[in-house]
Subunit: 346 residues, 2 copies
DNA sequence: CTGAAAGCGCTTACAG
DNA sequence: CTGAAAGCGCTTACAG
C-alpha cells in the first residue's frame, strides 16, 4: 500500500492549521485567509511531501462525486447474435471524456446490461450514489427513461430516441436525408433505391427522419424512389444482392440509410466483383469512423463529427449538473456532405 | 437534490444500532451478530425507505475506490492528423467493463492526453487517489510505465509494448503471422507480398512479431517474399497502389500486417474496380471489429476476440489488486484463423 | 483574521 | 452477543 500524504500531515509539518492547508492546496472556499508567506510555506512542504488531494473525501463532503456515467448499448441483436461492440459509440465516448476532463470530471462507463431491470444486481455505480449525472448514448430501449432518471440525479440523452425540450442532443437526421438525396440528384440521378433494414430493427429515430428528408427531396425533384431491405439472414442477403444487381442494371443509384446498410451491400457486391463508384453509385446518410485509419473516405456520405457531439454533450451535462442552472435546451447538430468517390455522374 | 436514505435513518426507524443495519444491508464484516427477526425487520424498513449504500463513504473508509481506470490512446498521428478514435480499443473496453462489473468494480476512462507529462494539469482521477488500478490499453508511448506506476497502485498492460513476467496480457502475434501465412501456403500461393506501414509508425510490438512468424513459415515453405509499404501521403498511396496492381498481375498474394493496411489497400483497389477474393488474394494477420454490423466477415484473417481479452484482463486486475495476491502471471492469447472469402486458390 | 470542531456516510475495533 | 464511538480525509460554519 502506497503511503499517502494528508492535509493533516502537511499542516503539522508546516506548523499551521488544516484550514490553511486546505485553502491553499485545494482552494477550499471557507472564510480562512492565508498570508502570502504561509501560503508559500504550505505550497513548498506539500510539494516536498508529494501531497495529492483525496477526491473521495472531497466528494463525500460535498455530496458530489464529480463523476458522470456514460451508458452504452452492449446487448443488441444483429444477425441473431448478441452483439457487444457498437464501435461508432466510441467516438462519442472520447469526445465526452475530453469535455468532462476539461471540467474536472471523470467518466465512468456503464453498459446497458448493468441496468437491466431483469437482472437482480444493478451496476454498483447506480446503486451507490456514485454518479452526478448520466449521458445515455444511442437508443437504449431496455432501460426506460423513468427508471434511469430515478437512479441518477441528471440524465442527458445523446443521439437517442428520447427527445424533449431540454437535455437532449441529436443529429438533424432529416437534414442528412435531404443533403444525401440532393447529392444524387445533383449528379443527375432520377432513380434512387433506398437501402434500409427490416423495420423491427429500425427502432432508432434516425431511420424515419432520414427517410423523410430523402423522400421530400426526391418528390420535389421528380426522382423515382424504390426500396430495398437488407435483412440479416444469409439467404435473404443473397436474395437482396440479386435484386441489387438488377437495380444496378437499371442504372439506379443507392441511398443507404445507415453505414451498416452501405457496408453490407458494398462488401457483398465486392464479392461479385462489383465496386461502388465504378460499377454503381451509392450515397449514405450516415457516417462511419472518422480517422483511425479505418475510415470511409471513399464513400459519398453525410459526415457527423461524433467526437464534437460528445464534447458538446459533456458541456451540456456541466450545465445540467450546475445547481443554479439544472437544465439545458436541447440541441440539433447538422452533418455536412462529404463528396467521396462512390457517386457516378449520370 | 434527491433525498438520500442513510444507515442512521434506517437504524432509527428500525429501532436498532447502525452496526446491525450495516451488517445486514452492506454485509459489513465486523463482529456484529444480528438475529433473524431483526435482520428481516431491517431489510423491510430499508426497502421501504429505498436505502442505497453510499459507495463514496465506503470507499473512503476502506481506502479503496473500487474503481479501475482504463487508459486509451487518443492522440496518435495518422496521415499527419491528430486522430482521436482508435475504434478497435472499444471492444477491449466493453470486455473490461463487463469483467469489472461482475467483480463489483467500476471502470473510468482515462485518455492518454490526461496523463501527458507536458500538460500541467493531470486527470483528476490520477491526482486524486481515485483509482485502485489502471489497465493500459494498446501502446502508449507518451506515458512512461514508471510514471504510471507511480500514480496508480497497480498497472496492467494490455496489448502493450510493455512485457514482463507479470501483469501483462498480449496476443500471440508470432502465431498470428504464422497461421495467416500458412493459410496462403495451403491455398497454393508461393509468392507473397507483406503489406505494412512505414517503420516510424510501426512502434507496436505486434508488427515485428507478425513479420517474424510469417517469415518463418514462408522460409520453411519456400515462399518468395516481397514487401510493400503503405505510407499515409496521398501521393505515396497512389504509387503503392500502382505497385500493388503489378503485384496482382504477377499473381502474388498479399499478407496485410494489420487491419489498417488491409483496409487501405482494399478500398484503394476497389476504386479501380479490383476486388479482394475476385481479382486478387489477400489475408490479414489482424482482426477488425467483431459484430456490430461493420465486421469484416469476408476478409480472410486471424481473428482475436478483443472482448474476451478485455474480460480476461479485468480478471487479472482483480488478482493484482487483491491484497493477498498482488500480481498475476502474464498471459499470451492466441487468435484463430477465419477463412473468409479473400483468398483465391492457386 | 484565525483555528478548533462538526460532519459527510460508512466500517470495524473495542468496551460493556 | 450487542451498541457506542473512533476514524477514513476532507470542507466549512462557527466560535474565539
Amino acid at each position: 500500500m502506497k503511503t499517502t500524504t494528508t492535509l493533516k500531515q502537511v499542516a503539522e509539518r508546516a506548523g499551521c492549521s488544516i484550514n490553511a492547508v486546505s485553502t491553499v492546496l485545494n482552494g477550499a472556499r471557507g472564510n480562512t485567509v492565508v498570508s502570502d508567506a504561509l501560503r508559500q510555506k504550505i505550497q513548498l512542504t506539500a510539494d516536498e511531501m508529494g501531497y495529492r488531494p483525496n477526491l473521495m473525501a472531497r466528494a463525500m463532503k460535498s455530496q458530489r462525486s464529480q463523476q458522470i456515467g456514460v451508458l452504452v448499448r452492449n446487448n443488441s441483436r444483429i444477425k441473431d447474435e448478441e452483439v457487444n461492440a457498437h464501435p461508432l459509440a466510441y467516438e462519442f465516448l472520447l469526445g465526452i471524456s475530453e469535455g468532462l476532463e476539461e471540467a474536472g470530471y471523470m467518466m465512468s462507463l456503464v453498459r446497458l446490461s448493468d441496468v437491466d431491470p431483469e437482472k437482480h444486481t444493478q451496476a454498483s455505480a447506480f446503486r451507490g450514489h456514485l454518479l452526478d449525472g448520466l449521458i445515455v448514448v444511442n437508443d437504449v430501449p431496455a432501460a426506460s427513461p423513468e427508471r434511469l432518471e430515478l437512479l441518477v440525479p441528471h440524465c442527458l440523452w445523446l443521439d437517442n430516441n428520447v427527445w424533449h425540450e431540454h437535455n437532449c442532443l441529436r443529429r438533424d437526421e432529416a437534414h442528412a436525408g435531404k443533403i444525401a438525396m440532393q447529392a444524387l440528384v445533383d449528379a443527375g440521378h432520377n432513380q434512387v433505391c433506398l437501402l434500409g433494414h427490416p423495420s423491427e430493427t429500425n427502432e432508432h429515430y434516425s431511420f424515419a427522419q432520414r427517410t423523410k428528408g430523402a423522400t421530400e427531396v426526391a418528390q420535389s425533384s421528380n426522382v423515382r424512389l424504390e426500396t430495398l431491405t437488407l435483412a440479416w439472414e444469409e439467404e435473404q442477403i443473397v436474395q437482396a444482392v440479386q435484386m441489387a444487381k438488377s437495380i444496378i442494371r437499371q442504372q439506379m443509384a443507392f441511398l443507404a440509410l445507415d453505414i451498416y446498410a452501405a457496408h453490407t451491400l458494398m462488401t457483398q457486391l465486392m464479392r461479385e466483383g462489383l465496386c461502388g463508384g465504378v460499377h454503381y453509385s451509392i450515397a449514405c446518410c450516415d457516417d462511419g469512423f472518422n480517422g483511425g485509419g479505418l475510415d470511409w473516405g471513399y464513400l459519398s456520405r453525410v459526415t457527423f463529427n461524433r467526437f464534437e457531439m460528445g464534447l458538446e454533450s459533456a458541456g451540456m451535462m456541466m450545465k445540467i449538473t450546475d445547481k443554479q442552472v439544472k437544465q439545458c435546451p436541447s440541441q440539433l447538430m447538422r452533418g455536412t456532405w462529404e463528396k467521396g468517390n462512390t457517386i457516378l455522374p449520370r
